[in-house]
Amino acid sequence: MAWMLLALPCLTAALAFGLARRGSLAALVAVLGSATTLVLSVVALAGAPTGARGAPFAEGQGSGPGSTLGGIDLTLQLSLSTTSAFLVLVVVLVTLLVQTYSAWYLADDDRRGVFHASIALFAAAMLMVVLSADLVLTVVGWEVMGWCSYLLIGHWSRREAPRRAGHTAFIVTRIADIGLLLGVSVLIAGAGTSGRAEVIEHWTSAAADPGTRSVALVLVVIGVLGKSAQLPFHDWLLDAMEGPTPASALIHAATMVAAGTVVLAQLLPLLLRAEPARALLGLSVAATMVLAAICALVEPDLKRLLAWSTISQVGVMLAPLAAAGTGPTAGAALGHLYGHAIFKALLFLTIGWLAVTRGSTAAGALVGSGRSHPVALLAWAAGLVSLAGIPLVLGGLTKEHVIAAVGEDVGARGLVAHLVLGSLLVTVVLTAAYATRALIVVVLGGEQRVRARAVMPAAVSGILVVLAVASIVGGLALGGRLPDAGHVPLGLFVLVLALVLLGVAVGYALSHLGVQQRLVDGRAGRAVGAGLGVGTLQHLVVVRPVTALARLVAFLDREVIDTYVRAAAWGVLGAGDAGTTAHRRSRPASGLALLGGGLLAIAVITAIVLVGAS
């Protein structure tokens, strides 16, 4: 069953790629493929075995071909449990909605067939990460996702900016992936097998060296930080806004940025025993959450605001893995993953439509655009309500579980856990503030009346309505499917509610008092709009040394090594020319002289040998 779930998107991708010239046909194939996969994933969810406590992904019950390579046992298994089936359902649902949306959004694009194929392949890669019970397959899915993100971000490759953005995304995540690959290699080498159940069993047993385990997990965490766009790897996600909005909805909501969460949840037993890795994760996540939320407040472009928001919310998603106790960790993280996927996809798809009506995603251009269609208004509001964390809606529910998981018995867990908890609480305020800002700009801002209602295709309306409903009442789908996320005490509930209301008030005050506009137009807004200069830093620290090294190597090869080769060729050719000149005159006498000389020479050689032998 798991293999079928994986094979279907692959097949869809291959078919769509084959039909890429006929864009509409490819779109149809892609949509149908995603729909079939959705049906299949519902069936899978119904019949999936429940994972055991502590092993929600049921890796012990995997299926797949095995092989042995160089002394390492490669099990190459996929496994299905309710948790993984639920996540698969979420991913496939978002993929289907994105595919349908893209059929409208890219209707005039001549490369839409390739786009649909890439989306399908991306979904397949994410499914592989979710379903895999084998570290090698996880890495394969991870890398294919990285490649697909490059293809999707740089889809409008005729322009310079998307190409650069695609390269940046690929290279930054690649550099972080060095950590992931090294960490996974250490884990596999130590355990002698690549099956995750066996690896976990080996590294949690007494035979494992704690230092090596910590180092491996630190490396894995570095890889996760890169893919999840946490500090210091966050700038690729901002540049990735150059890609088409449906791609952003998929990549930056449901799949790629959340893949790190899934991997860490899968390796949770090891992570819980590796304090340095958790500390690193916690530090990065705490700083990122707050910083990204502040930046979202002053970001001039609304689509980039959503990107900052994603960075911040992924930090929230990773917080339980960094700081929570052993019980509700996975449940809280995966819960917020689910919530974030729904409401962030909704927000991205809505802004896609809004941008089409106004021609730009800058805040100044989108003022009041939400009022041109009731569905857009509803969708935007629903998504922001969920984002802000209003209690009882999906986003609020999952955020409360996260805070509860981190806050539960926080005193026993050290400084980093306290830091993370503090950052979470501050982030709640800031999130509510910028969500209010976004709502005011799109829905309420501006004095001029909106003249005409814009057209929204029925499919798009349907998509937005579905997502809006899901982001409000989607909490009902949580239940036994994800691991237990713990209990939210009443006090915490009240505290979070108070913080959210505080944040809303702050946001309203900022924009009403005009401070908001001054911040956005001022130096802060410009600095944030330029990505806080991290790109320049990376250029200095990574790009320039590497290219200088490459130039040095090329110079050595060309000037030092090649000189010997050229000298050898020159020598041989010179000898050839000399010989040819010597033989140009074809006198018989010189031939005879040569013959006589040769005879003498070999006679002398033989005589020497004879005399020497006797």
Binding site: V572, L573, A575, G576, D577, G579, T580, H583, S586, P588, S590, G591, L592, L594, L595, G597, G598, L599, A601, I602, A603, I605, T606, V609, L610, A613, S614
Partner: protein
């Protein structure tokens, strides 16, 4: 002493061409105006020779030998028995490699015959040659070719000095005559050839005299020379005799420094004579060299350095000079120099089968290459640059030529050449003869450049205003047939190299 019996089948590869030569001359005397009968007679004789040689090879397979002309109990053939070696009573002993040499000589002679029998020959290099003169004496040319082939066939199986000397000269002199008849009007290069040949024969006779002085018999065999090798004073005489015999054969293999005639004679004598020189003459040379080396087993360590120097220098210098050749026949001449070195190299280690296998692959490839050159040279002598883009204009010829060149270079898909080089290097490496093996490797590298230059010219696109050159149909057919033989050797190298891998 009873008269010796001759098994006609065993002697057929020698007798058929010889009798065919006589018959061709007779036919030419009877019907001098007719062009056709003499080549037909010649072709029949050579085909018979090929078939008998193949049959002999199959019979002698597995290390045995087929012999005839046996004189049991003849006191003239009595020699001191060496330990472990038994003297044979037979004078004509055909081993598997000897039969292969005979088959090669006859087949190459057949190809040359077809080329010579064309109405117009290919014009040789010369500033004032006319484009192809009509053949004047077909019968004489056929007789000359058949005489050469029979000489080569007899040297390959010679076990005594008389047969050796006669066969060697029989393989050399008719080629000189052909060079004069077919060569460039101004200077056919025959003078270089004849002066070198005469000198070599003279040296050979002196060497033969020294051999007879040392061993007391005419027989060329390890058994015959064993006693002389043990005696200190006679060993020096024997060694000097062997050195002189080797030197006299070395010019036919165009080894350096006996090579000076080759780059002159090949271009000026034309493609047909060049084919004869490169194939039949080389086969005779190897047959002679093998006979001498086989007979010098007892003093082999003494002549090894001389042979090594000859082989190593020829391999490298031939390749270096082939790199700078500007026309196909000169390139083939220098290629012949380097391949002569390659053919001699396994004899330094004493491995006869490897040398014969290598020569077999070389002869097939060179006949293919030269027949393509002959086919394309209808309008005049060609330069290498004229072959640019040949693959587009004449794909069949370019394919055959390309395969032959890749076989020379030893690159896939010329797998036969690659395996032949491996077969040569293996006994050298096994016996630790690095001072021959390392120059061989250098020669391979330089040879790659030399041959790939030509192959690249075939493949590169030419300026569009070249019309496809006129091709000669007979030569094209010969090229295609030999190309198919080369292809089958490439696919099943065991046909030719099989004896070398046992």
């Amino acid at each position: 002493m009873s008269a010796p019996t001759i098994d006609v089948l065993v002697a057929a590869p020698v007798l058929a061409p010889a009798l065919g030569a006589v018959a061709a001359l007779a036919v030419d005397a009877i019907a001098p105006r007719r062009r056709l009968p003499a080549p037909v007679v010649g072709a029949v004789a050579l085909t018979l020779a090929v078939v008998c040689a193949v049959v002999l090879r199959l019979r002698a397979h597995g290390g045995g030998e087929v012999s005839t002309l046996c004189l049991t109990g003849d006191p003239a053939l009595a020699v001191t028995d060496a330990p472990g070696m038994v003297a044979s009573d037979c004078l004509l002993r055909v081993t598997a490699s000897g039969a292969l040499l005979q088959a090669l000589a006859a087949a190459a002679g057949l190809a040359t015959l077809f080329l010579l029998a064309r109405h117009r020959g290919s014009p040789p290099e010369s500033p004032d040659s006319r484009a192809g003169r009509p053949v004047a004496d077909p019968g004489v040319e056929v007789a000359l070719v058949l005489a050469t082939v029979s000489g080569a066939a007899v040297v390959a199986v010679a076990h005594d000095l008389g047969t050796w000397l006669v066969g060697l000269e029989l393989a050399t002199l008719p080629v000189v005559a052909l060079a004069v008849m077919r060569g460039a009007p101004r200077d056919s290069g025959a003078l270089n050839l004849i002066t070198t040949s005469v000198t070599s024969f003279a040296i050979a006779v002196v060497g033969a005299g020294l051999w007879v002085t040392a061993t007391g018999s005419l027989r060329l065999g390890g058994v015959a020379s064993w006693a002389a090798g043990q005696d200190a004073s006679m060993r020096a005489v024997l060694t000097l005799g062997i050195v002189l015999l080797v030197a006299s054969v070395a010019f036919k293999l165009s080894l350096i420094p006996f090579h000076a005639w080759a780059p002159t004679t090949y271009p000026r004598a034309g493609a047909e004579v060049a084919m004869l020189l490169a194939s039949v003459s080389t086969v005779a040379a190897l047959g002679g060299m093998v006979a001498v080396v086989r007979g010098s087993v007892s003093v082999h360590p003494a002549i090894q350095p001389a042979l090594s120097v000859l082989a190593a220098v020829s391999m490298v210098v031939g390749a270096v000079l082939a790199l700078r050749a500007q026309d196909p026949l000169r390139l083939i001449a220098w290629s012949g120099v380097t391949q002569g070195g390659w053919v001699l190299a396994p004899l330094v280690a004493g491995d006869v089968d490897a040398a014969v296998g290598y020569l077999a692959v070389y002869v097939v490839a060179v006949v293919a290459a030269l027949s393509v050159v002959a086919a394309l040279s209808v309008d005049g002598p060609r330069r290498l640059e004229d072959d640019r883009g040949l693959l587009r204009r004449r794909p069949l010829h370019a394919a055959v030529l390309g395969l032959a060149l890749l076989t020379f270079a030893g690159l896939p898909p010329g797998v036969a050449g690659l395996l032949a080089k491996f077969v040569v290097l293996r006994p050298l490496a096994a016996q630790g003869l690095w001072w021959v093996a390392l120059p061989a490797v250098v020669a391979v590298v330089i040879g790659l450049a030399a041959y790939l230059r030509w192959v690249a010219l075939l493949l590169l696109p030419a300026p569009d205003d070249r019309t496809p050159e006129a091709v000669d149909p007979t030569a094209t057919r010969v090229a295609v047939v030999v190309g198919l033989v080369l292809l089958s050797v490439t696919v099943v190298p065991v046909i030719l190299l099989g004896t070398g891998t046992t």
